[in-house]
């Protein structure tokens, strides 16, 4: 089990592994660990939802088991599957040698292919694994329903083999981009946190650890301009990931300051849609430069 003292300890541990959480997220993570509850993270693209699971694995030393959801994901991909071709080979061999066919043998662990959910439940590691169910909103209701059952009981039944039960439940992080509402019953099972875009100071701090080669003044300008971009009512406002990319790009150009030319040539790294780039340009790149300059120095 992961023994954590308090919210501050979580924040420090995450910080030591290059993830800067605000108090709300740190509290949600603390409670998830303390109360053994799955954590459902929602928020805009690129705000660091997926990264939470990764950093938890780095911190705790637990294995990261990632289940990427998609439309039509089914039990065979998420839970387990029988290795049909090996079963068939086995049958052929039995037939050839005239042996009796033993169904139990055919449906034994030997032929079982474990997928992330089963691996997370049936783990036997010292340090509990971190199960990441990423982008659950892409899966369909029925998968969600099954997930709820697994997360409620921490048990999975393979009819042919019996029930696997987690002795110590895995740490579970579920993320959603909210393309569709997650079912209420699943939400109720989880602790919930909506990750907002970071405020200026935290985004600056993230740049310091994630883009350490970028000079302080430039990092401040990039963070300030990113903040201004988020006010433009864009189709896809920049997430932390985009701000980091932008800072890298600007620094790679050797620019000392974020001026209109620099913004112009690097805009594609922070705004991924052409419509958004056009909107930012129509609004005036000078406006961004001004917003950046306003953060030149700590006030």
């Amino acid at each position: 089990m992961i023994d954590v003292k308090d919210v501050g300890a979580v924040r420090d541990a995450l910080g030591a592994h290059d993830y800067l959480a605000d108090e709300g997220l740190a509290t949600a993570i603390f409670l998830a660990l303390k109360l053994n509850r799955p954590l459902l993270l929602e928020g805009e693209a690129g705000v660091g939802k997926t990264e939470v699971a990764k950093v938890l694995a780095r911190w705790t030393g637990g294995e990261l088991l990632r289940l990427q959801c998609y439309e039509g994901i089914d039990a065979a991909q998420a839970v387990y599957e029988w290795d049909y071709s090996r079963q068939l080979l086995h049958l052929r061999a039995a037939e050839a040698s005239g042996d009796a066919i033993d169904e139990d043998e055919l449906y034994s662990e030997r032929f079982l292919v474990r997928r992330p959910l089963l691996r997370a439940i049936a783990h036997d590691s010292q340090q509990v694994p971190v199960l990441l169910v990423d982008e659950v909103d892409r899966a369909d209701d029925e998968f969600e329903a099954f997930l709820l059952e697994v997360l409620s009981d921490f048990a999975i039944t393979v009819p042919e083999l019996g029930t696997f039960r987690a002795e110590s439940p895995p740490v579970v992080v579920v993320t959603s981009n909210r393309t569709r509402d997650v079912h209420n019953a699943l939400k109720r099972r989880c602790l919930y946190h909506w990750i907002d875009h970071p405020d200026f100071e935290r985004e600056l701090a993230i740049l310091r650890v994630r883009a350490p080669e970028v000079r302080e003044e430039l990092a401040r300008q990039v963070a300030g301009a990113a903040e201004a971009l988020r006010d433009l009512d864009l189709y896809k406002p920049p997430g932390v990931a985009e701000t980091i990319d932008w800072a890298h790009a600007v620094a790679a150009l050797g620019a000392a300051r974020l001026d209109a030319t620099t913004v112009d040539v690097t805009l594609g790294t922070v705004l991924k849609y052409r419509e958004d780039q056009e909107r930012a340009r129509a609004h005036g790149l000078d406006h961004l430069v001004d917003a950046a300059a306003a953060h030149d120095r700590a006030s």
Partner: protein
């Protein structure tokens, strides 16, 4: 609830404030909130605030209401609403006041007397195939009206049980090959038919009303109500953490009155499910004593069970020995990838004669046919 601690008291009080502010706060969340408070402590405002955010708020849209409620609560300037909602009760799925009360009930008595099946539907084809979970409120109202057209009758006792069809869907051929190879080595199981008779069989409907069935419960209960009204030999029960007989409540001609009477009677709406225990209660108190004997027993449930699957399997076996046929209706089965992995479902399936979906009007029509064949 648990013995009073300061965290518990604070949690219960604040939950009440939030409900007053219009947020949906189930009892389970209040308990989690209390645990969270115990973990973070009550001293710091931020700690209490975020403990509540993590446990009581489930969408960004609710944040503003939460923030306002929290601020006034913390400042102590809030009036704590009197216990208008008793602890443990949960708001119900039926909103009778918003429904048009004109579902035409033309099931005349002479029709009822005829032990035949008439499944008639209004021509709204699209609606018929929609999953209940996806219907808007208005569409649900329409669907309920369509259900009034449904006549349900048990099969005559001479009827023969059809062999269970087992379709394997969307699986690679290899799997079928393995299974078939196995099957040739095994022996086919043939079930005996029951003795012929002319009386329509009793129909017993057991409807799961736990949280996971939320999207389907009202449509199903309406189906059950139509069945109770339209056919004399129908019994209905609600299964949640306990078993509640709702036949009498559902026998009102006015569907809305019937449904709200039933929901008042059922205390554990949208709670957890203990299918095994509920079924044991049914077997002990009603079923094995006679109600289920020779009857068609219809279980409406998604098969998620918080209880012990062995208990469920044992009770299914008991039921199997007395019932004419067991029909299991699981709306989740409508999805092509569905595999009965839910523990309860896996445990129950061996005892089930018919496994159908019932997730839409069309599917309920099929269910009516399955029941009466």
């Amino acid at each position: 609830m648990r013995p009073d601690s300061e965290a518990d008291r604070l949690a219960v009080t604040f939950a009440r404030v939030l409900r007053g502010a219009g947020l949906d706060v189930p009892v389970g969340s209040t308990i989690t909130f209390a645990d969270a408070l115990a973990a973070v402590g009550l001293e710091r405002r931020a700690g209490v605030y975020w403990a509540g955010r993590a446990t009581l708020v489930r969408s960004p849209e609710d944040r503003d209401a939460y923030d306002r409620a929290f601020a006034s609560f913390w400042e102590g300037i809030v009036e704590i609403p009197e216990r208008s909602v008793p602890a443990g009760s949960i708001s119900l799925a039926f909103d009778a006041d918003r429904d048009t009360p004109d579902a035409d009930e033309e099931a005349s008595d002479d029709e009822q007397a005829t032990p035949t099946v008439a499944v008639r539907w209004s021509p709204a084809e699209v609606l018929r195939h929609c999953d209940f979970a996806e219907l808007t409120h208005a569409e649900l109202v329409e669907a309920r009206r369509m259900m009034a057209d449904l006549k349900l009758a048990g099969p005559l006792r001479r009827s023969r049980r059809r062999q269970r069809t087992h379709r394997e869907r969307g699986r690679p051929d290899l799997r079928r090959t393995v299974r078939r190879t196995l099957r040739t080595a095994g022996e086919p199981i043939d079930r005996a038919f029951t003795a012929p008779s002319q009386r329509p069989r009793r129909i017993v409907l057991l409807c799961d009303v736990s949280g996971s069935m939320e999207p389907y419960a009202r449509a199903f209960l309406r189906f059950v109500q139509a069945a109770v009204v339209g056919h004399g030999r129908v019994e209905a029960f609600a299964m949640g953490t306990r078993l509640t007989r709702i036949t009498r409540e559902l026998s009102s001609r006015d569907p809305d009155a019937a449904l709200s009477a039933a929901s008042r009677r059922v205390l554990d709406w949208s709670g957890g499910t203990r299918l095994g225990e509920a079924l044991r209660a049914f077997n002990d108190q009603w079923g094995v004593r006679g109600m289920a004997r020779g009857a068609v027993v219809v279980i409406l449930s998604d098969g998620w069970d918080r209880g012990d699957p062995d208990v469920l399997a044992g009770e299914m076996a008991r039921l199997r020995r007395v019932a004419h046929r067991i029909v299991w209706v699981n709306p989740l089965k409508a999805t092509p990838e569905y595999a009965p992995l839910a523990r309860g479902m896996a445990a129950a399936l061996p005892y089930v004669d018919e496994f159908v979906t019932g997730h839409s009007m069309a599917a309920l029509g099929e269910l009516a046919e399955v029941i009466s064949k």
